[in-house]
Each structure stands twice: as C-alpha cells, then as structure tokens.
Amino acid sequence: MDHLDRLEAKSIHIMREAYSCFKNLCMLWSIGKDSTVLLCLARKAFYGHVPFPLVHIDTRYKIPSMVEYRDKLALEWNLDMIYGENTLALQEKRTFPDGNCTRLECCKNLKTEALINTLSGEWTRYRLDHKLKKYVPDPNTEPFTGVIVGVRADEEGSRSKERYFSPRDTHSDWDISDQPPEFWGQFKTDFAPGTHLRIHPLLDWTELDIWEYIKRERVPIVPLYFDQGNNTRYRSLGCYPCTKPVASSAKNIDDIIEELKTGKFANIAERSGRDQDKEDGGGLEELRKGGYM
C-alpha cells in the first residue's frame, strides 16, 4: 500500500461515512483540481455513481472556461449539479471589480453569503435538468446538513487545524477553540438541529499528492492549470479579477509534478496568486470562521 493508496482509502472511508450518516448531504465542487479529485474519489467510493448533489457557487467572475468544463462533465457523468449565487449583490454591484468594496468584502458577498444561503436553501438553488440540458430553479429547499469540501491542511494556516468532520453552528460559524475530538476513525456524525457539518476528505493531501493522483487516476482537469503557450499557467483557480496566473511553462501534469518537487515552486505557497489572502494577517481565517470554504 503506497502513500497515494493510503490517502485514497482514507478519503473514501470518510466520504462513505458521510454518505451513511447524513440524510441531506452535498459536495462543493469549485471546478478546481482539488474538488475534481474529490469528485473522482466519490465515483470510486460509490462504484461509478455520485449519490449526492454537487454544489458550485458561481460568483459570475469565474474564468469562463471553468463553467463550460463544469457543465460538460456534469452531463457526461450524469451528475446531480446545483449552482447558487448572490443575485442581489451582483445586481447592486457590491463587488471588488465594480470598485465598490475590498477584495475580502467581495469574497464575503459573492462566496460566503452565497454559500451559506445556498446550503440553507434560503436562496434559489439552480439544478441541472439533464433532459433540458439547462439549469432550472430547484423546488427542494431543505437545508444541507452535511457538506463535503475539498480543503487541504497544507493550503494555509487555518486549514491545517481543520477536522475531517467539522461542525458549523446555526450561523455557519466555526469555533476553532472548541473543536470535537477525532480519533480511531470515529468522527462527529451527531449534530444538533440547525447546525451542520463540513466534511474534509482531502485534509491530509498535499498539492503534490493531488497532482500525482491526477496523473495516476487520469483525473480530467480544466486546462487552465497548464501553460497554453504564453509561459503562464494558473496554479490555483478562483475569480479572474483576484487570481493571477504564475509564470511557468509547465505544459502537462509531469511538468507540474517536476516543478513542485524540485523546481521553483517547491517552497512557494500555492495560494500566492490569490490576492485576498494577503489583505490581512488572519484574513482568510476570519473568512473561514464566517463560513468561507
């Protein structure tokens, strides 16, 4: 059993626990490499099926090919696809690109608020109709009580302290100082009404593990991660106004793995292209306490 086998088995075990313990379960799919690996792990865990809906928070500032790629895979793999958004903030232009708020405020409006209200069912969920091949408002407004998320402990400080099963209270708040114990493969699967749990099957994976797994399992990845000829590529995907490509000529998975192992990224944080992380010493942690992924 090698390192990737071990990581895979643990992630599948966690996902299966979530599936058996939560009636209203969903999985966040950001179209990025991590949550796409998560999606492939789900297809393995459940033998070709994904027995819960996938939720994408659309900020309308996502790089357009991400959304195309999302819908292509959703149709091909028969995925129960849902997206949610902060329609009002977009209408009122309360966004950073519109010049009306800071990057962090924009993240809060378009991501955190949209996420919380999509999960709770307060705001409209748009569900992919596989016959019509388009999204229609979902009549089901029941809150999701279990949310599978692809965060990794090595991404940044606050994520390194996450649990595999991490409770969020009725306001989606995360109490870092009072987290449940987790040992011997037993997780917190009991929860009070109104609260929900975030489930993190990829917590032990590193960026390199993700790429090595993508290679081994032939995980289909959005091409934005590769240099398309102008010596830049995205290392981490987000909204285009706040995510800069990095200078790199890695054109395929092997190039990326090589770059991470020995090259210039071996010692540079993955999210260094994400400007919102830099605004405040603990900015991302503050966002995460309030419900950010």
Partner: protein, 596 residues
C-alpha cells in the same frame, strides 16, 4: 500496487504547556529548509511590527487566536522531509483544556516526541500525555529534554529527568526509544549534534526520527471489516448489491466464506468489486476501502462486523469491561443514556459499574461513582443491543470505541474483557431463578410417565420467508395425531405478547437478545410441564442457541435449519429443505429423542 519508496510518517509532538513543542517543530522546519520562501521573513516582520522577540513557535501559530494567547490550542500539521522519508509533524497542545485536541493529533501518529522542559522538569501533562499515548496504542516514543540552554547544558539536570520519567513510562508499559537533550531555541541536537553537550553521544532528533519504524499493515491478523453500508445504486441499470467498508485488519479474497456479527449471518464473497474500470481486484488487505458482492443474498446492514468463517470470531456481549478516558464537559454518570460507537456500529449504552477511577497524571486511584473530565477509569458499559468487538490485546483496531454524549464524542476506550462477559448476565439471572424456583410435588418423571414421552424442544429456524411457520404447524399436527403432547409457539407470539413492553411497534432492533431470552424462559416452563415444544424464529445464530441452552434446563433439544443452506454461524443438528421428506425425518428423530 507496490510499496513506494516514497515513505511517509506521521509524528506527534506532545508534552506540558510551554515546554517548547512548537519551537521544536519551528526549528525542525527551518533547519531542514522546509519553510515556504518568505515565511520566515514574514513572521520576523510581524514580530518587529508587534514588538515581540522572534520565536520559532510563531511560524506555526498561524492563527490569531493562538498568537494572542501564546499557546497552541489545536493540532496543526507541518511538513518536512529527510533523505529517508517525508514527515508530517502534528503539533499537539500541552494545555489541559485542550486534551481532546492532543488526542486528536496523537491518534493520527505513528510515533511521538514528548517534550519536557529541563528547568521545569516532569509536569502533570508530561505524565498525562505519556499515559494517553499508551492508551491510544502509540508504541514508539522518544523523549526530548528541551531548553538545555536554561540549565547550562548540565548533564546532571538531564539525567535526573531521564531517570524520573523513565520510571513513569515503565509503570504504564512504554519503553522509550530514547531520550535526547536539546535546545530547540538554540538548535542543539535538533538537526545537528550540539557542541554544547559533549557528554551526550546519542542521536539528534532528526536521526532519531529516521530510526522510527513505519507502522506495519495489519495483513497478518484476522480479517475484520466493519460494514459501512450496503450499496444498491439503481442508476444506469446497476443491479449490484455491494457490502462496503474499510478493512481494519487481515486480508480477504473472492470465494472466502464470511460471517457478519452480531447477526451471525454467513455468505461467500462472490466478487470484490473494482472501483474503476482499470482495476482488477481479487483480494483486499488492511487499510483499503473496498466492497464486495455476495453469493447468498442475505440481509445485512451498516454496523455489522464482517469476519472470515475460518478465523478467530469476535467477542460478543451487551456488558463489556473497558478502560476509558473521559473528555466531556459533564462527568460520565450512571443511569444516563450515551451512545457507544465501535467500528461502524452505534448502540445506546449506559455506565453500569465503575471499577476504579484514576488520575492519569499521578496514576493515583480514587473511589468515586462518576468519571470526571480527563479521568481514566476501568468500568463496565452495558449496551441496549448485542455488540461484536475484539479484546484490544488481540486486535487493537476493532478493540476500541468512543462514547457520544449529547451529540459530542466525549470519551474513548478499549475493550479489555475476555470470555467472562459472554452470557454473564443471562447466567446470573438463571442462577437466581433456579435458586428461587418453587418445585411442586409432581416430578418430571411422573409427568413423562403420564404423557408417555420425554419433553423436548424442537427449534426450527432459517432465512426469512421460508415457510417455517407452515412447516411447524404441519409438524405439530403430525405429532399430535400420533398422540403426542405437543405445542407450537412462534417467536412473533412472544414478541407481540410477553415482550410487548420492550418491542415498541416499528422497532426491529430488539429482535435479538432479550426476545430470545424470553422465548427461552417460556420454553423452559412449557418443556418442564412435559410438552414437546416446537418453536420457530428466523436467522437464529450460535449466540442465540447458546442463550436458549443456558436458559432452558431441558437439554433434549433439536436445532433444525430449514432451507438449502445455513446462512448464519449456527451449529445445527440438521439442515433440511422444508418438504414432506423433512417432515418424516424430523418425526422419526423426535420419536427417538422423546421415547420412554
């Protein structure tokens, strides 16, 4: 799948608050060149702005909460590598308030570094953490005597701590892999050997880490797989019924005969299902998440423990002797309902009896009737239904459990009982009953003479929906028409009558255990009156028959499985298809065993 030279190991750092765990990690990261570019500068800059002296610990305290309190409150993971392998270092908090976080971190580790401040010496949590490591089953521990610069690198100060702490470890059954005098702040003996302590000839922390042995897969132990779920996804015309779970120990393959406990149901592994098209799997071993289809379609569900029929069976019981540690805000008390989770099973449970309570930091036992937060205790836990588990000494991974109190995991423990618990409470009840039983003046012999038959108990079992009841009625009619004194009783008549108080409508859970005991008590009375009694119940197991045997004094018993093949672990006298021939075979057999 081949073993990768790309080896990984999880190490936890534990010890008393402020003894320098985070500094050890910070130094390890810095000295192995494992810090992201600019991280060190970023933290130094932050210290300059906030007018604090730079400390390596700040590298880890990425959270605002922590920086302001100056202590680690939760386990954080850091990554570094040596030539030998990659390490994940888990920083566990040393403050007593955060013991549950320490346990969370330590339970993920293959080995532990335990840090003791050379000046402060062995403190409460130095010992408590040591105890928790042993409870969690972590065998490899190295002790770092830190802040040697504060005691002028004195060998005497070091030796005193080594001798005191080694004594403690021996008491709790841990043999330390080694002791190392270090100063994480100054970098002594962390990545390179210190020139300040020429009297020390041993390993540096880094060379010690590389000496730790990787946790071996548990392939050579008996096979155990807690059933996580049974999948039947119908999309795209998928008609597989897949038993899914993670193999805790051992190995299994296609064609193996497996038994599920506590239901005792048996089947064969038809096929280990591949998870993707590329894969071809004939077997699965410890650590793998897997799933298989069955040859015989029996009804099993989440919570059962799947084992191989020809290997060591698990223990079963409703009253378990355990050692546990308590983390809950409220003490663990008697007469309160908790939940016990072991493997994938979850059952209502109660604290039945406290044998002893101990302070893990002093090993002093106290007499009290509740278990406080951070106490460890030996006690007896009772569950509402039968549990399948292992003795922790035989199989650690299935010998552990957690207790859930009010939605929260509030304690953890290990099963320490052996055979004694099996039917212990049934046995106690029967002994009391026998003592209290009022015998009339008419003897069993006299009754047998009068009816011209010896009493007997005929148990008809088998899978559900196999016409057991019709067959039993036909058998009753046949024997009655021959002039025998015979009576038929189905378990349903007991469940909805005598056991109505414990079987709320709609709850299937309680079928086993108490219902079987009550059926056996009725059988005991009826056979005592001289009757030949025929009972029917589905899917009876070896455990059920043991219960019936224990409760009924009558040993004139015939156990018959009706159906093609027996699908539980029951040991029966006959396996017969429920037809006319079977009726005749049983009639003859009954004639033999009841003849005067």
């Amino acid at each position: 799948m081949t073993e990768n030279s790309n080896e990984h190991m999880n190490i936890v750092i534990v010890g008393h608050v402020d003894h320098g765990k985070s500094t050890v990690i910070g130094r390890l990261l810095a000295d192995t060149g494992s810090l992201p570019e600019g991280k060190l500068e970023q933290i130094k800059e932050l210290c300059r702005r906030t007018s604090k002296p730079f400390e390596y610990a700040f590298l880890l305290d990425a959270l605002k909460d922590e920086r302001s309190q100056g202590i680690t409150i939760d386990t954080a993971r850091s990554f570094f590598k040596t030539d030998k392998r990659k390490y994940i270092i888990i920083d566990a908090p040393g403050h007593i308030e955060f013991l549950k976080n320490m346990i969370t971190g330590a339970s993920r580790a293959d080995a532990a570094l335990l840090v003791i401040d050379a000046a402060e010496g062995v403190k409460e949590n130095s010992r408590r953490h040591g105890y928790m490591l042993s409870m969690l089953g972590i065998k490899q521990v190295c002790v770092l005597v830190n802040k040697m610069d504060n005691v002028s690198y004195s060998e005497k100060a070091y030796s005193k701590i080594v001798s005191e702490y080694d004594d403690f470890l021996k008491q709790i059954g841990i043999a330390a892999e080694g002791f190392i005098p270090v100063s994480a702040m100054q970098g002594d003996n962390i990545a390179k050997i210190s020139i300040n302590m020429p009297w020390y000839k041993g390993d540096t922390v880094l060379t010690m880490l590389d000496k730790f042995r990787a946790t071996k897969p548990l392939d050579s132990l008996p096979f155990r797989m807690p059933v996580q779920d049974v999948y039947k996804f119908t999309a795209d015309n998928d008609d597989r019924r897949i038993i899914a779970g993670t193999v805790e120990s051992g190995i299994f393959k296609q064609g193996d005969e497996v038994v599920f406990y506590p239901s005792g149901k048996k089947t064969h592994v038809k096929k280990i299902e591949p998870m993707s098209e590329q894969e071809e799997v004939g077997k699965a071993s410890a650590g793998y998440a897997t799933g298989f289809t069955m040859t015989e379609q029996i009804y099993v569900r989440r919570g059962e423990l799947c084992v191989k029929a020809d290997e060591l069976p698990p223990l079963m019981g409703k009253h378990m002797k355990v050692s546990l540690f308590w983390l809950g805000k409220n003490p663990m008390v008697k007469d309160k309902k908790y939940y016990l989770k072991t493997g994938t099973m979850k059952a209502e449970c109660y604290l039945e009896e406290i044998l002893s309570v101990m302070d893990a930091s002093t090993l002093v036992k106290t007499e009290k009737q509740y278990i406080d937060r951070h106490d460890v205790a030996d006690c007896i836990i009772s569950t509402s239904r039968l549990c399948a588990f292992d003795n922790v000494a035989a199989l650690a991974s299935t010998g552990r459990f957690v207790i859930v109190d009010d939605y929260e995991i509030s304690g953890g423990g290990i099963f320490t009982d052996t055979v004694e618990n099996l039917h212990r409470y049934e046995r106690a009840k029967v002994m009391l009953r026998e003592g209290k039983w009022e015998h009339g003046y008419v003897t069993v012999e006299e009754r047998s003479d009068k009816h011209d038959q010896n009493p007997a108990l005929i148990i008809l079992t088998g899978a559900q929906d196999t016409n057991k009841k019709l067959f039993a009625k036909a058998l009753e009619r046949t024997l009655f028409d021959e002039g025998r004194n015979v009576y038929y009783l189905g378990i349903g008549s007991v469940i909805y009558g005598l056991s109505a108080d414990i079987n709320p409508p709609g709850e299937k859970e309680s079928r086993s255990g108490e219902n079987i005991r009550r059926l056996a008590e009725v059988a005991n009375i009826l056979t005592d009156t001289g009757l030949i009694l025929i009972v029917t119940a589905s899917d009876l197991t070896k455990y059920d028959i043991e219960t019936i045997n224990l409760v009924t004094k009558n040993d004139n018993m015939l156990v018959i499985w009706l159906g093609e093949e027996c699908t539980t672990d029951i040991e029966c006298d006959m396996v017969l298809r429920a037809d006319e021939d079977a009726l005749e075979i049983i009639r003859k057999r009954v004639e033999q065993i009841t003849a005067r």
